[in-house]
Symmetry: C2
Subunit: 356 residues, 2 copies
DNA sequence: GTTGGTAATGGAAACGGTTCCCGATAATTA
DNA sequence: TAATTATCGGGAACCGTTTCCATTACCAAC
């Protein structure tokens, strides 16, 4: 807290050599007398000298830092993603500069667009080597034009990888996920289990994820049962949204046989609402959801859900980003794994229709 | 991705002035002709020039970046903390450099000490203005000596704030939490509800948090009931640990009347284990826990738990850190709020003894 | 004994900004 | 009109590191 950091210059004078020589030993470059090298190395070691990465950054024009802009790190889906990304990045010697754009107090829409845009600006100023975007305005069906211009301006200067469905006209790398497919899978599973009257619950309207999943649901419903807009109840991605949504179904006497929940949190909220009205999942209402949050296997009932294979996503995203930065050979970018269905209790037993 | 970033030099030549003049308008310094200032500003704006913070860092010797070393960002407790910290830091114009030291795949103990130490090194090299430590080796009852020396060496060069119980001999700022008190509160609540045979479940042995909470539990038990070591079952902080722990109680026919769980995840696991054996919480076993994870209010049963007021913690931690960096006046550091008991369903109804 | 090649070393420029210092011009005052 | 003072703008040093280049010394071969 007091003693200032040493500089290469001081090391040089301690060792009685020039700065260039010290630099050569720091970087294992040739052309330095073995004896001298050993001596200098010793001085470095026991003085605890650490070269300034920011000075290095000046000359190399790279910081070995990746920017991560995440909409809500509190969402288990993103938490897992960030955690995996951090692990992969660290493997390649990169650190993460983290920006969380939805303020902690869950102050939705407190001009998150502006927050994201200033995050972009910060990242450029701090000269990160690349940026990863997870959720946020990019997921809007029609993102704010200011956002798009800010994004493109940034993407013009440094590599940007976005974990989201591609947005037309935005020139970045996208890591798509099989949103529609996962909704199809979960809906199909419920249909195959004998449920007909299946509702769709949760998700903010006009968000790409919602739209994709909804259309997967819709596709399956129209082909194998009946699709009705009355069975679709959107709101948001949080547990309270599932709770309120389910309550609405109950209050309006429109309780469906089964529900496709936009994610595990919403499913949890819905289940709790059922319990509060002496209804049971899966006996009264079966539920299937997406996103495979870590605790879902311990809920009562255990959640039937879709695993999106986050680790793969993280791998792909970071690898894409690093190759875009022109990194030395990165292991080949893995192809994304398809979502897999995890059948547990909340959807009832296959082919065992709900009790009448 | 292609066009290189502009430099102040280029702006200067575009505007036909010297670099110093551009710098003056960038920093709102005096001694530049208003007309010229306006013109230069215009060029800056429409060229999208952004001064390099790393070059600035060189001269100012500060980066406006805070390092965060967190043991497991996947743990909801830490997630919430990081999220809050990010919000506070951003308010003061700081970004976060994030290091997650327990690798994503939950590879416990894969030499996390070494990972933490290299994180320290990275942070120093990257010249962050201060470091925040959340969990990890520092929580060990007897931390690895290598870790301690690395920590002290770092703390010698830059401000470090640790969200943990103070460790003797380590010269850093600590933000203590009322771990013992919270365990006392939850135990007291169970005792007041009429339970006598109360077990303690979860938490890694030899971790400060575990020890503190355990001693709170022990204190209340010895004074108001009977303390027996057989009622203490430690393991870890995850949901599976709660599950296995509860199973052990069941398998060995030592099912207690009530349980103090180390956190909400463990509580969830325990509840699920009960359900799997046709036992109910709270009817057969009441459960109280700590940490107030966001979803606890939607579990079945809703979790009785302790709120540690994370937002306050984040505020205190960041404020302490920023004042330590010698920041311009920071709002006074708030005094930590005491933990509060949240009574919900899992502990049964107060004064209503468990059914026989 | 001159030449040539190579290893070891130091000096200096460069990276992109900020800031101090100083000279030049314009404005004010004697 | 001359002297003094503000105001403005340019040059240069500096932050910590790398790298290019020049210098010296050494050794071998002709």
């Amino acid at each position: 807290m007091d003693k200032k950091q040493l500089t290469i210059k001081e090391i040089a004078s301690m060792a009685g050599v020039s700065v260039s020589t010290v630099s050569r030993v720091l970087n294992n470059k040739a052309h330095v007398n073995p004896a001298k090298r050993k001596k200098i190395q010793a001085i470095i070691d026991q003085s605890g000298f650490q070269p300034s990465m920011i000075a290095r950054g000046m000359v190399y024009q790279r910081t070995n830092t990746l920017g991560v802009v995440v909409s809500d790190i509190t969402n288990p889906y993103f938490t897992a993603l960030v955690s995996n990304i951090e692990a992969v990045a660290e493997d390649f010697g990169f650190s993460l500069l983290l920006f969380n754009t939805m303020t902690a107090g869950h102050t939705h829409q407190k001009d998150t667009v502006q927050i994201e845009i200033t995050a972009f600006r910060n990242l450029q100023e701090k000269k990160v080597d690349g940026v990863l975007i997870l959720g946020g305005e990019i997921d809007q069906a029609t993102p704010d034009p200011h956002y798009i211009t800010a994004l493109e301006q940034m993407a013009h200067h440094l590599p940007v990888v976005i974990v989201a469905q591609p947005v037309k006209g935005v020139d970045c790398e996208f890591v798509p996920r099989y949103q529609q497919m996962s909704a199809e899978m979960i809906t199909e599973h419920l249909l195959a289990s004998g449920y007909k009257n299946i509702a769709f619950l949760g998700g903010q309207p006009d968000i790409t994820i919602t739209n994709e999943r909804l259309s997967g649901y819709r596709k399956m419903m129209t082909t194998y049962a009946d699709y009705s807009a009355k069975n679709v109840l959107l709101s948001d991605y949080y547990v309270e949204d599932g709770y309120q949504g389910m309550r609405h179904f109950i209050d309006t006497q429109q309780v469906p046989e089964a529900i496709v929940a936009i994610n595990d949190q919403v499913a949890l909220g819905a289940i709790r609402a059922l319990n509060d009205h002496q209804l049971s999942c899966p006996d009264d209402v079966a539920i299937g959801s997406c996103d495979a949050f870590p605790n879902g296997n311990y809920f009562t009932p255990r959640l039937t859900t879709i695993d999106h294979h986050n680790e793969d996503l993280a791998n792909i995203a970071v690898n894409k980003l690093l190759t875009a930065t022109g990194q030395e050979k990165i292991p080949p970018i893995p192809t994304p794994a398809l979502p897999t269905l995890i059948i547990r209790e909340s959807s009832g037993h296959p082919l065992k229709k709900k009790k009448e």
